[in-house]
């Protein structure tokens, strides 16, 4: 821009800022010039004292006052509005919305007030500043580079290599010392107690079989689950119904006669011939894909859907994955009924529960 190049700071005498004839704006502009800024356009948007200006001033003032009103309303609501939870449709349900409304209005009022002030009432300007993003002068680059190289010379590592080697060798273990407590403290053997391959259904120390229980700890009789029904069951041990045994939740399904027939045939094929008891089958509820509870049981199609990634397992075909990203069937729990008439696990699961991992056999 022509003005810009004409009045470029380099080619111009700096103004004497103490000159009493200069207006404040002149000094501001001089300051800007010293930062390589040329104010090329500076214009009041509104003629002072006009109707338009007064209207805008009133508008901004109204916004600020709105903020005051809204903020006061916020405080009043915060203190006096009933806020404790009550069942139903009481006024407490409006507490949070009212707080949000008043706080939002207060903030928007001040925000748009400031914005209008800045956008409409302040003079408009166009300034041009030089970027100066050229690299430093070659001389400076050279000087800095040489200085840094000289640092190395002064240290004399090249002449005294032993110092360098010993420093590196000495510092390496120090770095390891910093990392060791972190890694050592955090690391935890995933195969401790064979935990990845056992569940709460593993027989007790005396070989006693673990009962299947409900979420409230009661054992389960076959008559508890109707045909076409399913029940989430847990190992009947301490903390069996808790996240301590997050790999143990199991789905006990009572199949209808013809489905059970198909299911038994499928079990036979994979060597799980005796895993069912009557028309009852138990499959791990933990999806073999990402570990969500795969528990959307469709009693007519006998599909089991996982709601996280939509893997679908066909119960009548040994819970084989038939759709979606899961690649492994749900492990089956071998079950039977003990002499008291309650379901027990004949043994632990014979396959690994839950999401796949590298060393899963």
């Amino acid at each position: 821009m022509s003005t810009h190049t004409e009045h470029a700071p380099q080619g111009r005498e700096p103004l004497d800022v103490n000159d009493p004839r200069l207006s404040r704006f002149d000094i501001v502009r001089e300051g800007a010039r010293r930062d390589d800024i040329e104010i090329v356009h500076y214009e009041e948007q509104l003629v002072p004292g006009t109707k338009a200006e007064r209207r805008l001033v009133r508008l901004v003032a109204a916004m600020f006052l709105l903020t005051g009103v809204a903020a006061t309303a916020f405080l009043v609501i915060y203190i006096w509005w009933p806020w404790q939870w009550e069942a139903g449709r009481g006024g407490d349900k409006l507490y949070t919305p009212l707080l949000g409304l008043t706080l939002g209005l207060a903030l928007l009022g001040i925000g748009f007030g400031i914005l209008t002030w800045g956008k409409k009432l302040l003079p408009k300007e166009v300034s041009i500043q030089d970027r100066h993003d050229q690299p430093g002068p070659p001389e400076d680059r050279k000087i800095t580079g040489e200085t840094m190289l000289y640092l190395a010379d002064e240290m004399g590592v090249r002449r005294r290599p032993l110092l360098g080697f010993s420093a590196v060798l000495g510092l390496l273990p120090v770095g390891a010392v910093a990392a060791a407590p972190l890694i050592g403290g955090l690391i935890s053997n995933p195969h401790k107690n064979n935990q990845m391959f056992t569940t709460g259904f593993a027989p007790g120390e005396g070989g006693e079989k673990i009962r299947l229980v409900r979420e409230d700890g009661r054992p389960i009789r076959p008559s508890d689950v109707s045909a076409g029904g399913q029940l989430t069951v847990f190992p009947g041990i301490d903390h069996g119904v808790s996240n301590k045994h997050a790999d143990s939740p199991t789905l006990l399904i009572h199949l209808r006669e013809d489905d059970a027939e198909k299911s038994r045939a499928a079990n036979e094929r994979v060597g799980h011939g005796d895993y069912m008891w009557g028309n009852y089958a138990a499959y791990s509820k933990i999806c073999t894909h990402a570990g969500c509870p795969a528990s959307l049981y469709e009693q007519q199609t006998n599909r089991l859907l996982c709601p996280c990634h939509q893997s679908q397992f066909l119960i009548t075909d040994n819970a084989k994955p038939i759709f979606g990203p899961a690649s492994r069937r749900l492990p089956q729990l071998p079950i039977e009924v003990d002499e008291e008439g309650f379901f027990v696990a004949r043994s632990d699961y014979t396959e690994t529960i839950g999401p796949d991992f590298w060393e899963r056999p």
Binding site: D35, L101, G111, K119, D130, I286, A290, S327, P355
Partner: protein, 541 residues
């Protein structure tokens, strides 16, 4: 006793003098006051992210006063009756207390969550602006890398925060996260066990996530954001080409007062929008989800939107399991590819994109002028491709909700996503490329022949032609062709002169441009800029 008179008017001056004596602030402060920023709406998108981050810090500090990051089992006895008597973790109980027993706690929780969503959304929108306008080119590659990292660090912040309440939904998310870590070949089980302190879910993960969420990740975010802003400041903002704008200058407003006022006002507006959303729109109603129990799940279990693309990629992934028959046999589960490999590739592509593009175009110059997306069809097409890819994945992450509410088969949604993921991105590339070329051509046409007027004239020989209004006076050949300068070309008669003095009004002009009143001592309005200095070489393809 005689009181010494204090000259009130002189106090600020004296104080300033005293400060400068000690800190030598006058010169740097002048430089700061005198910094010029270019003005364009798209330059404010990054600020949305910055401001919502500030709101996140404010609300987050409030929440820490009441949240108890422990997984010890307690029996809930707060005021929310439908959960009273339920055993749950202390973390979930204290989250319920924040919602029901801390006055104003619920709005704080909701504002915190909404501003987290806004933070991530603004990062993505800002990133798209940077990408499509070429603002990442030399010398700003470092800031692009920092920005991409900010997305992923924000992603971690969001995920850890989402997990903290230990409700049924977030626990499911945590379960999937553990499965993702477990799927990493060789180290998976060790990594998971080390992070969770044993078998999932263990008893320590919430406290570990808490310290990550309130200390480690925010510290990293603050550090990265500071460097990001510092670099914007140091390298000066890019600007659009246009009258008077060159690769070597910045045309805009000085930072103070107008620019700073606008920033302050905008912060308040962002804060206000978050407050409105936090109060009026319910988010993450954890009291419906119940405590996390490994056997409880809900239909439509989704992560927050910025994680949804990973959920989508997981849903679309076919069940391809790789078995390695060595020893007992080893497995690479299908979960590994869409959740570990895919994000890894995405990170790498985004980090190195500026260098890849520079290498491909052999363009190693400094670029301070932005490019209109239409002028770089290949990049714009690639961007559209990436956006389409991301959208297909995100929609697939919600495909069960879509299937349910729009009565589409769930299996059809999955297959649609699989096919769409392969077909739509190339299609988006092709279409975008063609649209860019079309827009370019139209620009050139207008520059060569003028604006279409809509007036049809019949020539003496019977032909009909449309009268065009040339943009410039014809030279001696009778042609008035202008060169394209990488900026908006007026396409309609009423846009002629739009690059000149401003016309008042937001959506439509409310008055005719008045003669600018010139205050005494103020420089007069500049005439229209000359066009020789405009634009950098590369924008003229």
């Amino acid at each position: 006793m005689k009181r010494r008179k204090i000259d009130v008017a002189a106090v600020p001056g004296k104080a300033a003098g005293a400060l400068d004596d000690r800190f030598q602030a006058a010169t740097p402060l002048r430089k700061l006051l005198n910094k010029v920023f270019p003005d364009h709406w798209s330059f404010l998108l990054g600020e949305i992210a910055l401001f919502s981050f500030i709101v996140l810090l404010l609300t987050g500090v409030f929440l820490t006063f009441f949240f108890e990051p422990a997984m010890t089992e307690v029996v809930y006895n707060g005021s929310y009756a439908p959960l009273r008597g339920t055993p749950m973790s202390a973390a979930y109980a204290s989250s319920l207390d924040i919602s029901f027993d801390v006055r104003g706690g619920l709005i704080m929780r909701q504002m915190h969550h909404w501003s987290a969503l806004l933070f991530m959304a603004a990062i993505v929108v800002h990133m798209l602006r940077i990408f499509f306008t070429g603002a990442f080119r030399k010398p700003r590659e470092t800031n692009w890398i920092i920005g991409s990292l900010l997305f992923w660090v924000g992603f971690l912040a969001g995920f850890t925060g989402y997990s903290l309440p230990d409700d049924g939904l977030s626990g499911t998310g945590l379960r999937i996260a553990s499965a993702i870590m477990l799927s990493i070949p060789v180290i998976g089980s060790w990594l998971t066990s080390s992070i969770f302190g044993g078998e999932f879910p263990g008893t320590i993960i919430i406290s570990r996530f808490f310290i990550a969420h309130v200390l480690l990740i925010p510290a990293l975010l603050v550090a990265l954001i500071s460097v990001h802003l510092g670099l914007v400041f140091k390298q000066k903002h890019t600007q659009w080409p246009g009258p008077g704008r060159t690769n070597e200058n910045v045309v805009g407003e000085r930072m103070f007062p107008r620019y700073a006022l606008k920033q302050g006002g905008f912060f308040m507006v962002v804060f206000g929008v978050i407050a409105l959303m936090g109060g009026l729109f319910q988010i993450n109603p954890i009291w419906y989800f119940g405590p996390y129990e490994a056997w409880v799940v809900s239909a439509a279990s989704q992560p927050d939107w910025y994680v949804m693309f990973l959920d989508g990629s997981t849903r679309l992934m076919p069940a391809w399991e790789i078995n390695i028959p060595i020893g007992d046999g080893y497995v690479i589960p299908p979960l590994f590819w869409p959740t570990v490999v895919l994000p890894g590739i995405l990170v790498m592509i985004s980090l190195f994109y500026p260098f890849l593009e520079a290498r491909h175009l052999k363009d190693y110059r400094h670029h301070n002028l932005l490019q209109r997306p239409r002028d770089v069809p290949a990049r714009t097409g690639a961007g559209a491709m990436a956006v389409t890819f991301y959208l297909v994945l995100t929609l697939s992450g919600a495909n069960d909700v879509i299937a349910d509410k729009f009565h589409i088969s769930l299996n059809a949604m999955t297959w649609g996503g699989r096919i769409g993921l392969l077909l739509l991105p190339p299609l988006a590339y092709y279409l975008t490329y063609r649209i860019c070329l079309g827009l370019q051509q139209h620009d050139r046409e207008v520059l060569a022949h003028g604006v279409e007027t809509g007036i049809i004239r019949r020539l003496p020989d019977g032909r009909f032609v449309e009268v065009h209004q040339p943009l410039t006076a014809a030279d001696h050949d009778g042609h008035g062709e202008l060169e394209y300068v990488g900026w908006v070309v007026p396409k309609k008669m009423n846009r002629l002169g739009a690059l000149g003095p401003a016309i008042r009004g937001f959506f439509y002009p409310i008055e005719k441009p008045a003669e600018a009143p010139v205050s005494p001592g103020h420089p007069p309005v500049e005439p229209r800029a000359e066009r020789e200095e405009i634009g950098s070489g590369e924008s003229r393809r």
